[in-house]
Symmetry: D2
Subunit: 341 residues, 4 copies
C-alpha cells in the first residue's frame, strides 16, 4: 500500500502515524520527493483498511499495489482451469463450449424442439430459465420447479447438460441435485449470501458480470464462490450499462482478453443480453470468438415473436445452425494464431 502525505502535514502527525503502524506490525518506508512525501507500507497490511487510513487528515491519498482478488487470480493459479461438462465435454484451456436455448422454458414442446435443434447444430449444453429475474413484478416470472422438470426431460432426450439460473438459496438442494451448471445472474453477482452457498456445492457455477460491475469486482465475486472450496467458476461477460441506447447493453469484449490475462477461469460471452437484438448476436458471437472467448451462451427460440421473454434478442434454430458453422470457421482461423497478453 502506498500512502501520499499532504504538503502541510506536521512531523508530529507523521511520527504518530508511523508509530501507530509499527504497533500493528506494519513498517512505513519513506520516499521524499521534491513536492510530496510518500510512504510504502510493508509487513502485514491485511489488517489495514485503505479507506480508514485515508481518513487521517494529513493523508492525501492511499493507493493499493496488489490485486484484491486471490483464488481467481492467474498469479495464484498460472494454468488455465479446465472444467468438465456433461457428456465428456470440457470448457477452458482451449476447449470451446456453446450453451444455447430459450430465455425461459415455456412448455415441453418448446424446450424439446429447441433442445433437439441446438443439439443437432453442435451446442455443448442447453440453457433455459426456470426461475426468471424480471425487472417488473407484472412480467412472466418463469415456470419455477416445473420448468426445471422440463429441462430434465430435455436433458434425458438429448443428452445435453443443462445450465439454468438460481435466484434464491431456498432452492440450493434442488439445484445441487438436478442442474449441471448453476448460473448466477447478473443482478445477483453481488448477492454474497447466494455466492457463498453455491460455492459449497460441487458444481460448476456460471457467474455473469453485473451490468455495472468492474472486472475487478467480478473476480472478487468469483472469489466468494471459490472460497467455498468445492465449486468451479465460469465467468460470463454479458454487457455493461452505458449511455448508448442503440443496444440493450454495451458488450464489453475487451473484458475477454483482460480476464484471460488476469484469471485462470474460463470466460464465455453472452451476445444475446450483451446486445439485446437478434441481428447483432451473429456478428458479436463471431467477434467474441475472435477475441479469445472460451465459449458462448446464446438465446435460441423456435418462435421468437411469441416468446414469453427476450424474443427480441433470440435467434431461430435455423440461424443458430448457420452461426455454428461460421463459428467453426473463426475457431479454425484462431487456432493458428498466437499472441501474448
Amino acid at each position: 500500500m502506498i500512502v501520499v502525505i499532504k504538503d502541510d502535514a506536521t512531523e508530529a502527525q507523521i511520527d504518530g502515524f508511523i508509530r501507530n503502524l509499527e504497533d500493528r506490525g506494519v513498517f512505513a518506508k519513506a520516499i521524499k520527493g521534491e513536492s510530496k512525501t510518500v510512504f510504502g507500507l510493508v509487513g502485514d497490511v491485511s489488517s489495514l483498511s485503505p479507506e480508514g487510513l485515508a481518513r487521517n487528515e494529513f493523508i492525501d491519498k492511499v493507493m493499493k499495489v496488489s490485486e484484491p482478488y486471490k483464488l481467481s487470480s492467474r498469479s495464484f493459479h498460472p494454468d488455465d482451469t479446465v472444467i468438465d461438462l456433461p457428456g465428456g465435454k470440457k470448457i477452458g484451456g482451449g476447449n470451446f463450449a456453446v450453451m444455447a436455448g430459450p430465455c425461459s422454458v415455456e412448455s415441453e414442446e418448446q424446450i424439446l424442439s429447441i433442445a433437439t435443434d441446438v443439439k443437432r447444430s453442435g451446442a455443448t449444453m442447453l440453457r433455459g430459465g426456470a426461475f426468471k429475474p424480471r425487472s417488473s413484478p407484472y412480467s412472466f416470472q418463469g415456470l419455477g420447479l416445473d420448468g426445471l422438470d422440463l429441462l430434465k426431460i430435455a436433458r434425458q432426450k438429448t443428452g445435453l447438460g443443462i445450465v439454468t439460473e438460481i435466484m434464491s438459496t431456498d432452492y440450493i438442494d434442488v439445484f445441487e441435485k438436478e442442474v449441471d451448471v448453476i448460473q448466477v445472474g447478473a443482478r445477483n453477482m453481488q448477492n454474497f449470501t447466494l455466492l457463498k452457498e453455491v460455492g459449497r456445492l460441487g458444481k460448476p457455477v456460471l457467474l455473469k458480470r453485473g451490468p455495472s460491475s468492474t472486472i475487478e469486482e467480478l473476480l472478487m465475486a468469483a472469489d466468494y464462490v471459490l472460497v467455498g472450496g468445492k465449486a468451479q467458476v465460469i465467468l460470463c461477460e454479458r454487457g455493461i450499462r452505458t449511455f448508448e441506447t442503440a443496444t440493450r447493453n454495451t458488450l464489453d469484449l475487451s473484458a475477454v482478453p483482460v480476464l484471460k490475462k488476469r484469471t485462470h477461469l474460463p470466460v464465455v460471452v453472452d451476445p444475446s443480453h450483451g446486445t439485446g437484438y437478434w441481428n447483432l448476436v451473429y456478428p458479436m458471437a463471431l467477434a467474441a470468438t475472435a477475441a479469445g472467448a472460451d465459449g458462448l451462451i446464446i438465446e435460441v427460440h423456435n418462435q421468437p415473436a411469441q416468446a414469453l421473454c427476450d424474443g427480441q434478442q433470440s435467434i431461430t434454430p435455423q440461424l443458430f445452425d448457420d452461426l455454428m458453422k461460421s463459428l467453426g470457421k473463426i475457431r479454425e482461423a484462431i487456432s493458428t494464431i498466437e499472441y501474448t497478453l
Copy 2:
C-alpha cells in the same frame, strides 16, 4: 403501445399482424404519415410483449406509452405516503427523518457511544450494519446476529428505532421481529426473491437504488415489495456509477424531484455512499434537503480512521451535531418555498 412499421413492409404482413392482434383482443389503429405508418394498440395490451412484437421483421420499433410501475406510482396513489417510525416519528408528507450511525456495528461501546451522540443531536433513527455486503470476501463481513443484538441494546438505551440491512431470506423472521426499518441494499435492489419476502412483512422497507439502476427500475423494485400488500417503502438515492472517479459514486440529486413527481413514497438521500468522502457529506446533505428530500441516511463514526468499514465517508459525532443544526436552517428556508413538479 405504439408500433412503427418499416417502409418496406408488405400489406400481407400488416394484415396478418392486425388479425393476429385482434385474436388476442387488441386493436391496431393506423396513422399513415408521409414516410412512416404507425399503429396505436388499444385494448388489453397486458399480454403483449413489446420485445416479442419488435421481433417481427416488418416492425421498425415498439414504444411504450404507459409507465411500467403501478403501486408506487403517484397516478395510482396521488397523496404522499406518510410512514410511522418508532418513537412517534414519521417520514413523508412533510415529515423529515435523519437516520444516522456507523457503517457497521463493531462493539457495544462503539454503537452505544454513537447512538447516544446522534440521538442527542436529533437523529430520528439509528442506522448500523450487522450483516455487511462487501465486494471482497476477505473484508470484514459484519458481526451478524451479534451485531443485531448490540443494535437492540442501543435502541433500548436511546429509544431510537433501528434500521439495518437484510442480506438473505434466511434471517427474515429475525428481521421481522427485531428490526424497525428493514434496509434492502443497493446490490440487492433486484434480488427479487428478497424483495417479495420483505414485502410480506408488516415493516417499512428502506429500498436503496442500485448503482446502475434507472429510476424506473427502482420504482418497479418498489412494486415488488408493495405487491406483498403489507410493507411500506422508503426509497433511497445513494449514488450511481459513472466514469467520474473524484467521488465513489455520482450522487444523482435530480432523482429526488423526479421521484417526488412520479411516486407517493418518501425519498431519502445517502450522501455518505453517494460521495464516498466525509468532507462531501456535509454540503451534499444540505443540497439533498434543498432538493426536497424527505430525509437523509448518514454514516457517523466516533473514530472514523479506525472504522472497520467506510471510515473515509463517515463523519464524526461532532460534525454530525453541527450538520443537524445547519439542516435545520435549510429546512426552515425550504418550508417557506413552494413549487410545482
Copy 3:
C-alpha cells in the same frame, strides 16, 4: 412524431393544440386507448420542435418516429459507399483498409522507420499525429506543420497515403492541399464549425466517435460533414467512456454492426485508443474484423517505451507484422460468412 396526452388534459387544451398545429400544416390524428390518448402528427413536422411541444403542460411526452440523420442513412443511400484511397486502394463495400503509424510524428528517423515497416507488412495508409489534442497543456502538443512535412517525406518514400488529425479551421487550406484523409478527432466530433469546414473540401474525412457520443449523434455529425456536398466520411469507433477502469475506454464493437445496418459509410475501429493497452490491441483487432469492420487504425511505434505519447497502447512493428498475417486469416474466414443485419 407521436404525442402522448396527459390523463387530466382538458378538451379545450387539446382543441387548441390541434388548431395550432393545423395552422402550421400539421394534422394530429388521435388514437384513444383505455387510459391514454395519443396523437400521431402527420404533415410537415420539420418545423416542430419536439422539446417545445413537450413543454405544453397537458402533454405527457413526445416520441420521435424517424431517424434524425439523413445523408448518412442507409435508407437514403442503400448501397455501401466505397471511398478511393491513395495508391489505388479503397475502403468500404468489401474493401478492407489498415491505417497504421505512431501516435505522434516525432522525428524523420522515427516516422520513416515506422512507415517503411508498416508498408512492408501491408498497411493501407500511414497514420501519424502532427497536431495533438492533449488533455494537459503541459504535455507534448505535436510538431505541428513540421510534423506534417515529415509525414509528406514518409509518403514520398513509401507511397502510403497519410491520415492525420486537424484541430483547427486555421489549417484547413494546408490540410486540403497536403493530407489524403483528414481525421476529425473524438474530442472534436461535435465541433460543428470544424465539421462544416472539412465538409467543403473534396477529401475523405475520418470521423472519430466522441467518447460519450451515441451512435445517433455520430451519424448526425457525419451529416454535418456530408451537407458540405464534397467530402466523403469514414466513421471510426474508438471506445466510449464507462465506469470500467481496466481499459482506457470501453471499445463498443457492437457499434460496428449497428452502424453497418444504419449507414452506408465505411466503419473502422481503433483498438489502440479503444483499449489503451498494447496487449489488448491484437485480440481486439481480430474481434473488430470478425464483427464486420471495414478497416482498422492502429498505433505502431518502433520504441513504444520512449514514445512521446500513447506508448502504452502502441504495438511494435514486429507485432504489427504478425497481426497483419492473423488479420488475413480472419478476413479469409469472414469472406465465406454471410448474415443479415
Copy 4:
C-alpha cells in the same frame, strides 16, 4: 510517480531501468514489500511519460502522485479568485451571480422582453445564444452575428452584461470586443485550439464541463485557458452523461464541493442543461446553491413552448422571479453555515 514492478522482473531489467532514469536526472528509490517491489521516482519527472514507463514489460503499473493541473489548483493559488462582472458585480469569494436568459436569441422583442424581466428579478447577467451548437445540422443554428447585435441592444437597454458562446476562433475579435463573459460550451471543452485563443483575451471565460469529462479534465482545460495569461475562468457544472434517461443529463452536484476544494476558480451550475426539464430547474437551483455554488446559469424564455431550442428546459420569467426570491432564502440560510472541505 510510483512504479510497481512485476514479480518476475529480472535484476538486469531493474538495473537497466534505474540507470536509464539516472541518465535523465531521475532517481528511483526502492521499497521492497513481501510480494511486490515499488519504486518512488524523485527528481525531474516532468520529462517522463507514465504511459511510456508502463510500456516496459517488467513494470506492473505506474501511479501518479501529483495533480496534473497547476494554474487552476488551489495549492497554486489558495485564495478564492474573485472576478469582476459588468455593472460592478462580482463572482467568487462569496459573491453569487445568476446568469439568465433564453437558449438562443430569436428576435429583438424576445430578447428585450426576457432581459427586462430577468433584470427586474435580480439576474446578474444576461445569457443568450447567438451561435448555437446543435447535434443535428437540420436544427436552428442561431442568428449568428445578428444575434450578437440583439444581445448588445439588450445590454444597452438593461445594463446587464452579456454571456454568450463562442464556437469558432473565426469570431475571436468580435467576441473580444463585444462580449462580457465568453462561454466555451460543453462540446468544446477539449477544443484546445479554442481554449488557447480565448485565453489570450482579457475577458472572463465561462468554461462548461464536457458531458463525459472528469473534474480533473475540466481543470486541465481551465489550465489551457489560464496559460494564456490574460483571461479568468468561471467553471460550470452542467450535467454528465450516464445511463439514466429520466433526465437529459445527470447533474453532478458533488462536483461543486469537489471543485471548491481543488480550485480557486468560481463554480456555477446550469440546472437547465443539467436536468433537461423545466420543472426540475427550480429544486436543482436551490440544491446547487445549498451545495455551495458561486452562481447559476438558467434558461428563461417568455414562450417556452414556442422556443426555437431547449423549450423543454426553459422556465418562464414569472417562475424565474419566484425562484430568485427562493434562492435568496437559501443564500441567507447558507450564509450562516460554515464547514471545511
